[in-house]
Symmetry: C2
Subunit: 398 residues, 2 copies
């Protein structure tokens, strides 16, 4: 595991919160960190060289989407995703498992958080078998088989720094038996992913110039602690560089908090810990306390495109489309010094959404990315100063 | 006319082409220059502080659109459009006349260039009378009367540096009698605009903090030289800071060239000359030779949003959506050093359009703006070096 390193810098006295450094071939990530979604190889609305404005450390792309468009071959010809999208910082790719789940069962975010089950979704997932998952491509309708070996192979072509084992992201609405057998299969897929990852000879064309990767295992078990325990033991006993907490986290904030606490607090300090699909500011403040090091979620950028700006107050957001902002000459967030807040008023941003101007989506996205990065820096400072509780009150202006 | 100045720097030996400096309270414009459209108070997809990337000197907004949304009052409360949209360079506003035309007769660009007449357009223009033009608002259906006095009043509220008299932009498909009577009415409206402009007492709340303006007259007469002559005389005999060439320019490139040549060559050197609605690169090279100093058109930014990039070759554009760019690893334009060309391949830009990613629109818009500004600089250098013909061949790689 040349070029990779995980080092914890400081712990807090009253929680498992810690700061650390996650070193990759494309740079060091100060943790806790938020990972922004560039699902299809683009940070939606943000040119990658806007990094300086927003202090983004690391981004995430989706294997399944990239495999369908532009395809691994095009990315490989660019010598990897970093060059293709001109992002020279660290990248994480998911394994495609998240998409199996999404396409098979409905909204990913809703399922992780147990919000509802929508039966009417178009199901592009044709079959999940021991071999892998058979999809219908949403691009051209062609049948696509994604296996652990194929997922690792594509992730090597894409060349992300951190890659994930191929798993089924078990939804909330299934029963314990299904969750158990899905977990067991994901464990077998994990071993196949690990073998594929370690066996360079099988992927001669995908290694080398696209750079080296580190592999994360994924902890399954849904909202069942006894299953989580089995998955924790499985993952701790295999040679993964990092560990991700995947699958359903239950149907309520309390249950989610309980499951994350239970799982994360058993994972020790030898691995960087990633929590998949969680991005609400208040959740992040809570979950760093259980030792989560990195988070990802489409939320901060997606809500921006619907007019919602993250701001430092008790509710932590405002919707700029609300008519009360028509003649509000203040900046979006009075404590923010991002490009958007320095240069534009709420009234102007309201106007941009009123006229359906793309620039509005860009300016709010840029602000939300800046907000998340500032918050993570605030959290890191608070951990280093052992003042997390006071810092949280101060962040939300309580 | 404090803060404003127009000075010609150099002429060429074999044409009327000239370079000059158009000084405004928000800075100096090196001419010939291209004016980019920020129709509704936004350079579509471009944050205004991207100026450094694209060398944009001056932008244009539309009185009619701004009057309906957000309304002059909101802009006035921001102390003018410069602050509202955070653009501290020079701004020109049209008078609303362009929109009367557009809403009454169909596509503006098609009409100026005589391409066709579309009878099926939704007509929001209710009535044109001596008093002004009665519209139905496309925002809320309310009836709106735009008069010369109201147009000037709103343009003062908006606070652009260069403002235009209120005119009817006469279309191509109407007959000579209509063109003549429309021109005569536009002349009467011009006098009313000039009076309103000079009579600060009538607009006490709109002057002052929003800054000083300079007024341009508009030369009408459609594709009829005898009418153009009348309008030239009218405009030259009134106290306008600058002159714009408006109305229809005929139904063919030859006729357009003929009318622009006839009109521009009679306008002397005392005024900066603006040509309304023309933005094809090759047309600009031709029309600077007749003494046109500034141009505006939505074209460079609009075509970008449809995947068309301006490039330096004989055809002067490519459509990045064409499948041949899927695995084209070159930059968009091999001679360009804009942010897009430095950082992204044609293959990546093709991918962005393939996945309908907003970032694609941004990157192509930014490139096209850079292209136009680079071309105008190339033209200015060529005029100063008296080598316009060679420069044109060199620009299009002939």
């Amino acid at each position: 595991m040349i070029n990779f390193n995980w080092k914890i810098y400081k712990f807090t006295s009253s929680s498992r919160a810690r700061t650390g450094f996650l070193t990759t071939p494309h740079g060091k990530v100060n943790t806790p960190a938020f990972i922004f979604c560039a699902t299809k190889g683009a940070l939606k609305t943000l040119p990658t060289n806007d990094k300086v404005n927003t202090y983004t450390q690391i981004i995430l792309s989706n294997t399944y989407h990239l495999m369908l468009q532009p395809g691994g071959e095009i990315i490989s010809k660019h010598k990897g995703l970093h060059n293709f999208m001109n992002w020279q910082g660290p990248i994480l790719t998911d394994s495609g498992g998240f998409q199996i789940f999404s396409l098979g069962h409905g909204s990913v975010a809703d399922e992780i958080k147990g919000r509802h089950f929508n039966n009417n979704k178009n199901k592009s997932l044709l079959e999940v078998s021991e071999k892998g998952a058979l999809f219908k491509s949403y691009i051209d309708g062609s049948k696509q088989l994604l296996t652990p070996e194929k997922s690792i192979s594509i992730q090597r072509q894409v060349g992300a720094d951190i890659i994930l084992v191929f798993d089924e992201c078990t939804p909330y609405h299934v029963d314990k038996d299904y969750t158990f057998s899905s977990m067991e299969r994901s464990h077998r897929w994990s071993i196949r992913s690990l073998n594929a990852f370690n066996d360079d000879k099988e992927f001669p064309s995908q290694t080398g110039s696209a750079g080296k990767q580190a592999l994360y295992g994924i902890i399954q078990g849904g909202a069942y602690k006894d299953l989580r325990k089995i998955s924790i033991d499985f993952n701790m006993n295999n040679n993964f560089f990092g560990l991700a907490i995947g699958g359903s986290l239950g149907s309520s904030k309390e249950q989610m908090n309980d499951i994350v606490q239970y799982t994360a607090s058993k994972l020790g300090t030898h691995h960087p810990i990633h929590l998949l699909g969680i991005g609400e500011p208040v959740d992040i403040w809570n979950f760093v306390r259980w030792g989560v090091d990195t988070f990802d979620c489409v939320n901060p950028t997606r809500i921006a495109r619907h007019g919602t700006a993250l701001v430092r107050n008790k509710l932590d957001k405002i919707n700029i489309k609300n008519s009360k902002y028509r003649d509000d000459f203040n900046k979006l967030d009075k404590l923010c010094n991002c490009n958007t807040c320095i240069n534009y008023s709420r009234s102007y941003l309201h106007h941009l959404f009123k006229i359906d101007e793309i620039l509005g989506l860009q300016l709010l996205t840029s602000h939300n990315v800046h907000y998340m990065n500032s918050m993570m820096e605030f959290i890191r400072d608070a951990i280093n100063n052992d003042s997390l509780d006071q810092a949280q009150n101060s962040w939300f202006l309580n």
